[in-house]
């Protein structure tokens, strides 16, 4: 690192600094743009600042030399304004922007030091979106029947699917009051989607910015009245925060919009009655209306849900074994339909019908958009509209979507920044292409003798009933103990109560995920051994009855990390899985961190008392881009393993590395690992290791 060479307290001279700059960011220097200027400025600063600047220049240069140059130019000023720690955060924020949006935005962020400093000062007393989102997200989910996302934005608004909240609220001295503003803001946006702010035809809304702002205010008055009836506690917050009081011109409108049946049409009508001079007070929690985007999202959703409801009804109809459409009727079960609070009870030919949950939530969502279920929505879609031969329609919305796109984003640990690169790795799950069907059989044939002993040793592990003797209670009498107890008693001793036999079952409640290296370096011998090892392992695990999954991993660059499904937890060990094992091939590079993070998530979702993640790799993590090779990759892998451990997973790493590199203790030191130096022994060794690990 830059600061290592000289350890004295004396500042470095300009020439020495310039030389370092040449070395670190020579790529972006030229005859017209030399490092002389920045070196000159920096040479006047104390040594501590110089060291700080040079260290971070070195770090940043790995990401972008240009950004590093700009940082060096601004560093003295930044430290003066923000202090060392503050300047570090300022640079890291810029690097996050660089990862996300590229150099242009990142350098803009870096250069706008004054604005950043002002934001930081505000943030000191305010509340940031990131601080509240994890509370507000379930809060909003609790309020609504429809799942809404929360996102940060410059101002508060909603497109009816996402609630956009300000990135930061710092209106009051106390955090608590700022949080109230956030909560109320989120609740009012939720109320816009719940009580139909966007339920009119596009033409019915006013066009001018001013009128839309007034409408947003009138809607707030209307929705606040709804909150008063439904969420009185929240309404008290509203009353406390709704300052300054609105002008007298809003008085009559406010009164009329309090009516239980008031709708957005009434707000629009009130808008026409307001005097031209009317000006809405600026309340901190009132957002703006983005009618165009909200209406677009709503229209799209209405169409989609209409189709989904009709398909669901068609399924219901088939399940009931009817040929004609069931006469489903949605009746308001409660009277306050006007208030939008109605609970709708579907009736099938006069008797109440318990709709499947997905139908219930569709109906709820459509009711929110349209206020009723139109006739044509209740016509089950004919066979033609149904996915032919596709079996079930994708019912579990979120999950199915994620699978369709199949893309997941994962953070990656950058040890130089000592921070995560947010959402840096793009990971895709794919299936392994099945390989030679006879591979598994040949392997078993080859290791026939060993398989037999393997099975026996695993059978011994299987959760079997044990008879515990001399227990205080149990299913049966322990005659030996009883005889002894009687003898003791006869001899004047105390009565021994432990005279029962109890059957205790030692249950293995274990889920294990094997993660197999499919990088190019496994080509040949190692790959063959890996595949053979997996076949033997599966044989053994089948005997044991533990739940297990096998995934391969490989990838090129952070944009193409891949996890290959060989066997999912819910799959049986069948011919297809055996063929997939045979089809495991050496592919690209070893970007291990993202794979560990992804697979730990899968494993964490399994219900088991013990969750074990076994990685099988042939050595160092390696990828040719972003300096993943070497220390960066080792540190990221180490960090991913620590994360897995925190998530309640026991990671165990098996590495085939003939050189048994000195990096291993560092990388795997946080968890358990073992080195298999003789590749040929891997097939037997793997099952044996697993047995020892779980005995």
């Amino acid at each position: 690192m830059s600061s290592s060479a000289q350890s004295s307290e004396t500042p470095l001279a300009a020439a020495a600094l310039e030389e370092r700059f040449e070395e670190l960011i020579g790529a972006v220097l030229s005859s017209r743009r030399t490092a002389a200027g920045i070196a000159q400025t920096l040479s006047a600063e104390p040594r501590a600042l110089q060291d700080f600047a040079m260290r971070w220049v070195a770090v940043t240069a790995k990401t972008s030399p240009e950004l590093a140059y700009q940082f060096a130019a601004l560093a003295p000023q930044a430290v003066a304004e923000l202090g060392l720690a503050g300047a570090e955060r300022w640079l890291l924020a810029a690097m996050d922007v660089y990862d996300r949006e590229g150099l242009h935005r990142a350098s803009a962020q870096l250069k706008d030091l004054a604005a950043y400093a002002a934001r930081m000062r505000e943030r000191g007393r305010g509340v940031a979106f990131e601080d509240v989102v994890r509370v507000l997200d379930p809060f909003v989910a609790g309020l609504s029947g429809r799942r809404l996302r929360l996102e940060p934005a410059d101002t508060a608004w909603t497109d009816t699917a996402t609630l956009f909240l300000p990135t930061h609220v710092a209106l009051f001295e106390e955090r608590e009051a700022n949080f109230r503003v956030y909560k109320l803001c989120a609740a009012l946006l939720w109320a816009q989607t719940r009580y139909g702010t966007f339920n009119l035809e596009p033409g019915a809304y006013p066009r001018s910015q001013h009128a839309q702002a007034l409408l947003a205010f009138l809607e707030t008055l209307r929705l606040a009245a709804k909150l008063e009836r439904r969420l009185p506690g929240l309404h008290r917050d509203y009353l406390a925060l709704a300052q300054p009081a609105p002008g007298a011109e809003f008085g009559p409108a406010a009164e009329r919009l309090r009516a239980p049946g008031a709708s957005v049409a009434d707000s629009v009508a009130e808008l026409a009655r307001l005097p031209a001079s009317a000006h809405a007070p600026s309340w901190p929690f009132v957002g703006r209306l983005d009618l165009e985007r909200a209406l677009a999202v709503r229209t799209e959703r209405v169409e989609r849900e209409k189709g989904a409801l009709r398909r669901a009804l068609a399924k219901l109809q088939r399940d009931e074994g009817r040929s004609e459409a069931p006469a489903i009727d949605f009746e308001a079960a409660r009277d306050d339909k006007a208030d939008g609070n109605a609970e709708f009870a579907p009736m099938l030919e006069g008797r109440p019908l318990a709709p499947p949950p997905e139908v219930a939530s569709l109906v709820e969502s459509i009711m929110q958009d349209l206020g009723e279920i139109p006739e044509d929505y209740l016509e089950p879609a004919g066979e033609g509209g149904y996915r032919a031969g596709g079996g079930e329609p994708p019912e579990t919305g979120g999950q199915a979507e994620a699978d369709e796109t199949g893309l997941r984003l994962y953070d990656e640990w950058d040890y130089r920044r000592r921070h995560y690169r947010k959402q840096w790795c793009v990971l895709r799950e794919r299936d392994v292409h099945p390989g030679d069907p006879s591979f598994a059989a040949r392997t078993l044939e080859r290791y026939r003798a060993q398989v037999r002993s393997l099975r026996r040793s695993f059978e011994a592990l299987r959760g079997e009933d044990k008879r515990l003797r001399g227990e205080p209670y149990g299913d049966d009498i322990d005659l030996d103990a009883l005889v002894r107890a009687r003898a003791e008693l006869a001899a004047g001793g105390e009565l021994v109560e432990r005279t029962f036999v109890r059957r205790a079952r030692h249950e293995r409640d274990m889920a294990v995920l094997f993660m197999v290296d499919m990088s190019g370096s496994t080509k040949g011998w190692i790959n063959d051994c890996e595949r053979e090892a997996l076949v033997l392992l599966c044989e053994a695990l089948e005997v044991l009855g533990d739940r297990y999954a096998i995934y391969g991993f490989s990838g090129i660059t952070h944009k193409r990390c891949e996890a290959y499904r060989v066997k999912r937890f819910d799959e049986r060990y069948d011919a297809l899985v055996r063929e997939r094992i045979a089809g495991i091939q050496p592919l690209d590079y070893t970007r291990m961190g993202a794979a560990i993070r992804h697979l730990s998530q899968i494993l964490a979702a399994e219900e088991a008392r013990t969750r074990l993640l076994v990685t099988l790799s042939d050595g160092k993590p390696d990828d040719f881009s972003d300096g993943y090779r070497g220390e960066y990759g080792i540190e990221d892998t180490r960090q991913a393993l620590i994360e897995a451990k925190r998530a309640g997973i026991h990671p165990f790493c098996i590495t085939i590395d003939r050189e048994a590199g000195e990096y291993l203790p560092r990388m795997y030191g946080a968890v358990n690992y073992t080195v298999v130096s003789d590749v040929a022994r891997l097939p037997l060794k793997l099952a044996e290791l697993y047995r020892r690990l779980t005995a």
Binding site: D137, F139, G142, G145, G233, R334, E343, Y473, D509
Partner: protein, 271 residues
Amino acid sequence: MNAPQAADAAALMIEREPFYRPVHGEVELFVAAWRNRVPVLLKGPTGCGKTRFMEYMAWRLGRPLVTVSCHDDLTAADLVGRYLVTASETVWVDGPMAHAVRIGALLYLDEIVEARKDTTVVIHPLADDRRSLFIEKRGEVLKAPPEFMLAISYNPGYQSVLKELKHSTRQRFVAIDFDYPAADIEAGIVARESGVDPMTAERLVRLAHMTRNLKGNGLDEGASTRLLVHAGKLIAQGVAPRAACTGAIALALTDEREMLAAVNELVSAVF
């Protein structure tokens, strides 16, 4: 028999009518099943009134009620009975199942899937038309009297995949589906059970619905009717509603800090 019996039949009788609000004909169904000696499976989330329903039915049919809360160490012997060693001899003591069969009680096995797998051995012959309990250790076969009925409960919601009820078991039972009642009925139940005013009861139910929206989004279960009754009782005793809901509902639902904060925010929005 000189065995110290677990409990006298009279002590197992339900003397006073328990409060139970029928929702959708489950009482008639249960009576019909009892008359025809068909066992019953009660399905539904925790705290929605399954146990109360059993008490009510026992009262209504005038039969003693034997309830066993199943746990993962519950064996067939725990149900059937075992020999105990006293000072000079071993004596047989009936387990709750044998006892219930002898006195013609309603036997209610709560959360049946929690019990060990070997319990199916004794449940199956009792649950089909044999209606008999084989006490292996005594070589005795108990024939269930006509008044005897077996009922089991099962919560499909939160148990792990490992604990699903096997088809060979579930297909012996008539199932009655329980869920939280409709909002107005639930509010009535909460008001009646806890003594709060109807308005507070309605708010409690509204809060419960919000937490049920969170099921699967961070909560394993929403607030049950039972929790609402607990909160209501505290409120009726003069505890401030927000404090009562935090104690009786929020803390009962989750330990996670942020989720707790979110539920508390919902509480403070409603109250």
